[in-house]
């Protein structure tokens, strides 16, 4: 098997960088694990340790209301040496997951689905990065590195999503659905990605075969696979935990009802702290509807680029999820470089990137002022999360604009590069 030298170099450099950071700054992983930007109640490594402790002592891990993650993580992490004795294996484990993610990204990038799909092919095909460059963007993104050292369990969700996409673009729809089932099982929200993912699979399938199968039938088949994979995982979980409703309410119920309002980089916590209890259910519904509402609209409007819909949805989830963390951002930023050809069409990149930079620096500062120095208050940090979300929204919206413009220029090649105004 020929070894790709560049790929090897990038991968080993990424692992070495992570190990170097671990050895030079031994306190960094624990510091990052404690940061609200990295750890949320549904992905925190510390809470996982608590669940693991209870699990290995044959107590229900959901006792005590600290642990809210999927039960299958417990036997998986129980295989690793205890973090109290050895910290290195954990870091190596997470670095390997990052490498796997990068590998999936290379598959996605090399498939060229972002540039040429079944229904759409951009006129800027020559402006693109190859797979290794995109993998490097992912592996050397500071958010990815911070996530790796902070060890939240959401990287497994990211991994499952990336594998679902990479299987979809290589035409393996059953595997894609299985991976999406795993992602949904771990974090619930990836289930919303089903629609664009199945369209991606369908497009890939239809390109290969001469007679395009019926969309509805194809969708139903895949939905069956997806349901089966989720059901299978839930069944295994039931075998592990015993009390089905206990773990469902502690994990999915927790994610849906958002009872823990620990500050995070999202927009929910402050709102639900401020709101009167009588309106809580109503606004929970509204917030979830808002989050789910993007799926239909984007899938329909950008039907020709399902991979772009997936990317944009991941960006939107990273903003509007109940418990977002920077691992969600790193997933969005992993897929965004696939759309290098849209950058010339984007208008606010500098502004959005500056807003994100400012928020990245000011967020921890204001959190420090609020929590440690005591000279600020919650509004400081919340204001920065607003700026952060604003920067991300601008990025997402701007990339969507660019994608639409790209589609439009494909239809009207003579209008390329000209000023256009909506009438």
């Amino acid at each position: 098997m020929p070894v790709d030298r560049r790929k090897t170099a990038v991968f080993s450099a990424a692992v070495l960088l992570r190990l170097l950071l671990f050895f030079v700054f031994p306190s960094l992983p624990d510091l990052l694990t404690g940061r609200v930007e990295v750890s949320t109640p549904v992905n925190s490594f510390k809470r996982l340790q608590e669940g693991l402790f209870l699990y290995t002592r044959n107590v229900s891990p959901y006792d005590g209301g600290v642990f809210h993650q999927a039960p299958l993580l417990l036997p998986l992490y129980a295989l690793l040496p205890s973090v109290r004795d050895y910290r290195l294996p954990q870091i190596v484990f997470y670095a390997l997951i990052d490498i796997l993610n990068a590998d999936a990204l290379i598959t996605i990038a090399d498939s060229g689905q972002s540039v040429v799909g079944r229904l759409h092919s951009t006129s800027r095909k020559n402006i693109r990065w190859d797979g290794v460059a995109i993998a490097a963007w992912y592996l050397f993104n500071p958010f990815t590195i911070a996530t790796c050292l902070g060890r939240p369990t959401s990287v497994l969700t990211s991994s499952a999503i990336l594998y679902a996409v990479s299987n979809a673009v290589s035409g393996n729809s059953v595997n894609a659905m299985l991976a999406l089932g795993l992602a949904s099982y771990l974090s619930l929200y990836p289930a919303l990605l089903f629609l664009p993912l199945v369209l991606l699979c369908y497009d890939r399938h239809a390109t290969g075969s001469k007679v395009a199968p019926s969309t509805a039938l194809f969708g139903l088949q895949n939905f069956g696979v997806f349901l089966a994979s989720v059901a299978g995982l839930l069944a295994i979980s039931y075998l592990i935990i015993g009390d089905f409703w206990e773990f469902v309410s502690a994990t999915y119920g927790f994610q849906l009802l958002v009872p823990d309002l620990t500050p995070n980089i999202g927009l929910w916590w402050y709102f639900f702290i401020e709101i009167f209890d009588s309106f809580r259910e109503f606004f929970l519904g509204v917030f979830w509807l808002h989050l789910a509402g993007y799926v239909g609209g984007l899938t329909v409007r950008l039907r020709r680029q399902p991979l772009f819909v997936l990317t944009s949805l991941l960006g939107i989830f990273a903003i509007f999820k109940p418990y977002p963390s920077i691992s969600d951002i790193s997933l969005y930023f992993a897929l965004l470089p696939l759309y290098r050809h849209l950058v010339p069409l984007m208008r606010y990149t500098f502004f959005a990137v500056s807003a994100l930079l400012y928020a990245t620096v000011l967020g921890p500062v204001f959190h420090h002022l609020w929590i440690y120095a005591g000279s600020g208050n919650a509004n400081f940090f919340y204001a920065i999360t607003l700026v952060w979300s604003l920067g991300l929204s601008i990025l997402v919206a701007d990339s969507m604009f660019a994608a639409l413009r790209d589609e439009w220029e494909e239809e009207n090649p003579d209008m390329r590069g000209k000023d256009v105004r909506q009438i």
Binding site: P344, F350, S354, L357, Y358, V361, L362, V365, F366, H368, L369, Y372, A373, G374, S375, G417
Partner: protein, 889 residues
């Protein structure tokens, strides 16, 4: 049709009248209809229409606002209605034809009825105190007359009556007077108000009431009004403009615009549009102007702060503190106890000169412990050792806890007496006072918080070791505390470093990294010292503060300098990072206050802190003090540092924009491409396409600028590591070495950039380098401003030249080289090592001692001023020098 010839011809053509009436536009018709309907309604007796709708000053209230809109439609009789209608129709028709139906409806249903009505009410009711009802459309007649008169005045300023020139705008006034005289029961005042509003309308002051044309068009388009309504005047059918003059008036001068006053804004807009179309100004000059403006305003802002208008008197926010509300009993026989303790400690000290140099020896420590134990306190000790820059600092803390008789050991106050003061003097009186107070406090039953007495060997490291260990955050070289109490609510350090009586209390309040204690604590100390004890309070070593502007400014600047350095200013500073508010009280001067007065002050402060129900939180944590009782809060002073930081960001954004459109760089890029194509003529087809693209938008080449800026920022870690890990003996050499690096490194990087590769960077890349570097600098400084305002402000000011340095592109080599060299000289004078050396020289201290202090701050106090210097300031400075240096090659 046969018309009898005998009849005299009519003075007007009936066909024209008929067609005129048939052509009346929609709104005019509606008004006519309304007037007729209201006149008909008056004929019945059930409902008094006039009483219902007339504008009666006394009847106007919130319930009867409709009167302001209905009165023009209602008339008091047939002739009234007829006359008004005849007068109104031509005027209204003309107005509607000019402005469109929708605008007319909006104006006449709204402001053109209510404004004259309101004006009339105002005068009638509030000034004349009368109550005359008015009705009738004559208000509109006079209003429109007034507006028409202004219009006429614009084209024909006056008409001549013989030799007399009468301005045309007065004509409605004449009409008004004549009507008033000739027609009975007319309201002169009402007509006058209408004329006044008409003038305003004619002059264009009311045009903001006009609905925006876009909205009108939209409404029209959506509802298809033109198609559905007969006689509708569309927005587009308007005769000319909205408030423009009639075309006939314009044709004479031959220009479209007329010299009307409200056209001035259009001219201003034109100027702005010209600026918009001038990229040279917009992208190159304007950012420099804006940046300069930011800097100037930022500095002036700071200079304004000491003025009374911008600063405030201090006040106690936390009501629980009640400073000075209790009587203090620390006096009398306690003085004998104090003398006894002092004598005992003095006995253990060496005689003569060595007395003042004596350290806290184990013997003295034993004596202190036994004294505290004898007073009935729980006593413990803690050994610690720090090594920084090759110097070992070690010692033993002694502390004792007075357990609260009325508390549950969940909260505590710390009283600290350091063996050596901040100035390294022997604090014998302070330590003796601590022992006396411990014995005294033990006997009181009113404490609701534990009181911890802490005796540390020095002011630098002792409290740090103790407070770290109190929170279990200590390093291995520091012992854990065997004895602890609850959450610390406040700390007071007191120093009394001489044997004579003192005059004033000097309060030190700066913490590590520019953190400050809650202003309430400082205020309480000032209130107790000044108000209750009659001792003056000073700060920032301002002994002769006469409350003048200069003195206030000097106090602020001293405070900022201290805050900016971010090192501990006393034993209290170590408490601040743990969110424990603390201050140091120093006895200073030669006066008539004795140690008992200091003791009473501390007692009263403890009583105030003892009252606290929650942690000090009410008052400010960010402030600049300019006098013991005057301060500015963060909202007032923060903009100055933010403006300084913003100047870098503005420049970064402008440069980014400029790289996208820069004509010069695109030409250069094209030139590079042409050269490439000459070298290998493989792709001749791309050439015209590229050239076309280059004209519009330039693709930015980010790799080199990003690498360079990130590389320089990472390079900052090297001196940071160097200065925090060297032995203190090597600091002077290291500083010289860095100064040498500063001189050589930028030039070599510049040479490498300009000459090193086959493709030297194009202008766009240089601009991008500067843009990224300034963006990071602005980002770091604005974040820093929220943490340590003073440091951000000082670094920002020192970096100001970096906004303005750029590659000098002058064709004459000698001029260019001379300019570059002088620029480099200026920049090198403002480099971190140069500023350090100059500062040390000015303050009269050695560079080595300052760097040792900085390393100690980094190692022990956790001060991150070095990070700011080496990872924010230095990289930005290097990039500036590189950009300037490139012009040499």
């Amino acid at each position: 049709m046969a018309t009898p010839a005998a009849l005299p011809p009519l003075p007007f053509n009936p066909a024209r009248v008929r067609s005129y009436i048939l052509r009346l536009p929609l709104f005019t018709r509606l008004v006519l209809l309304a007037i007729v309907v209201f006149w008909l309604l008056e004929l019945q007796t059930v409902w008094a229409v006039i009483e219902w709708g007339a504008l009666t000053p006394d009847e106007i209230g919130i319930q009867s606002m409709h009167r302001l809109n209905t009165y023009p439609f209602i008339h008091v009789g047939f002739f009234h209605a007829l006359l008004n209608t005849v007068a109104l129709v031509p005027l209204l028709e003309r107005f509607e034809a000019e402005h469109g139906t929708l605008t007319s409806v909006a104006l006449f249903m709204g402001p053109l009825s209510t404004l004259p009505g309101g004006l009339y009410l105002l005068v009638e009711k509030l000034i004349l105190h009368r109550n005359t009802s008015v009705v009738g459309a004559s208000v509109w007649v006079f209003l429109l007359l007034g507006s028409e008169a202004i219009r006429t005045y614009k084209s024909h300023p006056s008409f001549s009556l013989g030799t007399l020139k009468i301005p045309t705008w007065t004509s409605p006034l004449f009409a008004c007077v004549i009507v008033w005289i000739l027609v009975p029961n007319t309201s002169f005042l009402g007509h006058l108000c209408a004329i006044l509003v008409g003038y305003l309308l004619g002059l264009g002051y009311l045009k903001f009431f006009n609905p925006p044309e876009k909205v009108l068009r939209w409404v029209e388009g959506k509802l298809n009004l033109l198609g559905r309504l007969p006689h509708y005047v569309s927005v587009d059918q308007k005769t000319y403009g909205r408030y423009g003059v009639l075309p006939s008036a314009n044709n004479a001068t031959g220009e479209r615009g007329s010299p009307m006053s409200y056209l001035g804004s259009t001219q201003r807009l034109a100027t702005l549009r010209n600026l918009r179309n001038n990229p040279q100004f917009l992208f190159i000059r304007l950012p420099y102007l804006l940046s300069l403006l930011c800097i100037v305003v930022g500095v002036v802002w700071l200079l304004l702060l000491p003025l009374d208008e911008y600063s405030r008197q201090t006040y106690i926010s936390e009501n629980a503190l009640l400073p000075g509300q209790v009587h203090t009993y620390f006096a009398g026989s306690e003085q004998n106890v104090f003398r006894g303790y002092k004598k005992e400690l003095e006995g253990l000290l060496p005689e003569g000169e060595a007395r003042n140099q004596a350290d806290l020896s184990p013997v003295i420590s034993e004596k202190i412990q036994s004294a505290l134990r004898a007073a009935g306190l729980k006593v413990a000790t803690q050994n610690y050792e720090y090594t920084s820059a090759g110097i070992t600092h070690q010692g033993q803390n002694v502390y004792a806890i007075v357990q609260a008789p009325r508390g549950d050991a969940t909260e505590a106050i710390v009283l600290v007496a350091t063996w050596k003061t901040v100035e390294e003097e022997l604090n014998l009186n302070g330590v003796s006072l601590a022992l006396t107070l411990a014995r005294y406090f033990k006997r009181w039953s009113l404490w609701s918080k534990d009181i911890i007495f802490l005796i540390t060997p020095d002011s630098k490291s002792g409290t740090q070791a103790w407070i770290d260990a109190y929170h279990d955050m200590h390093s291995p070289s520091v012992q854990s505390l065997p004895l602890k109490s609850g959450a610390l609510q406040g700390g007071i350090v007191f120093e009394y470093a001489f044997d004579h009586r003192f005059e004033t209390l000097h309060i030190i309040y700066d913490g590590v990294n520019g953190q400050l204690p809650n202003l309430d604590l400082f205020n309480t100390a000032v209130a107790i010292a000044g108000g209750q004890m009659g001792i003056g309070a000073n700060m920032q070593e301002m002994w002769n503060h006469d409350d003048s502007y200069e003195m206030r400014l000097q106090t602020i600047l001293r405070g900022m300098l201290k805050q900016g350095f971010g090192s501990a200013s006393g034993a209290h500073s170590s408490f601040m990072p743990y969110h424990i508010d603390a201050i140091t009280l120093q006895a200073k001067g030669d006066g008539w206050q004795d140690e008992m007065a200091l003791g009473r002050t501390v007692e009263s402060l403890c009583r105030s802190l003892n009252n606290l129900l929650e942690h000090l939180h009410q008052s400010f944590f960010f402030y600049l003090l300019m006098q013991a009782n005057r301060f500015v809060s963060i909202g007032t002073y923060l903009p100055s540092a933010m403006l300084i930081a913003a100047n870098f960001t503005i420049m970064a954004i402008a440069l980014w924009l400029r790289t996208g459109y820069d004509m010069e760089s695109s030409a250069a890029a094209a030139a590079v491409k042409l050269e490439d194509n000459k070298k290998d003529e493989a792709t001749p087809k791309d050439k015209p396409d590229d050239a076309a693209n280059n004209k519009a938008v330039v693709e930015r080449q980010l790799a080199l600028p990003l690498t360079l800026v990130v590389g320089f920022n990472l390079l900052g870690l090297a001196p940071l590591y160097l200065f925090n890990n060297l032995h203190h003996g090597h600091f002077t050499i290291a500083a010289s070495f860095i100064a040498l690096v500063d001189a050589v490194l930028p030039l070599s990087v510049a040479a490498l950039l300009a000459r090193g590769s086959a493709h030297p960077p194009i202008r766009q890349q240089y601009l991008l380098i500067k843009s990224f570097s300034l963006l990071l600098l602005g980002l770091a400084l604005s974040a820093l401003a929220t943490l340590n305002f003073s440091l951000s402000f000082m670094v920002g000011l020192l970096c100001v030249p970096l906004t303005f340095v750029d590659r000098i592109s002058c064709s004459k080599a000698p001029v260019r080289i001379a300019a570059t060299l002088s620029g480099l000289l200026v920049l090198n004078a403002l480099s971190p090592p140069a500023v350090l050396v100059a500062g040390c020289h000015y303050a009269g201290v050695s560079v080595e001692s300052v760097l040792t202090h900085a390393a100690f701050g980094w190692d022990v106090w956790g001060s991150w001023t070095p990070v700011v210097v080496w990872c924010v300031w230095w990289p930005a400075w290097l990039v500036g020098c590189v950009l300037l240096g490139v012009s040499l090659f």
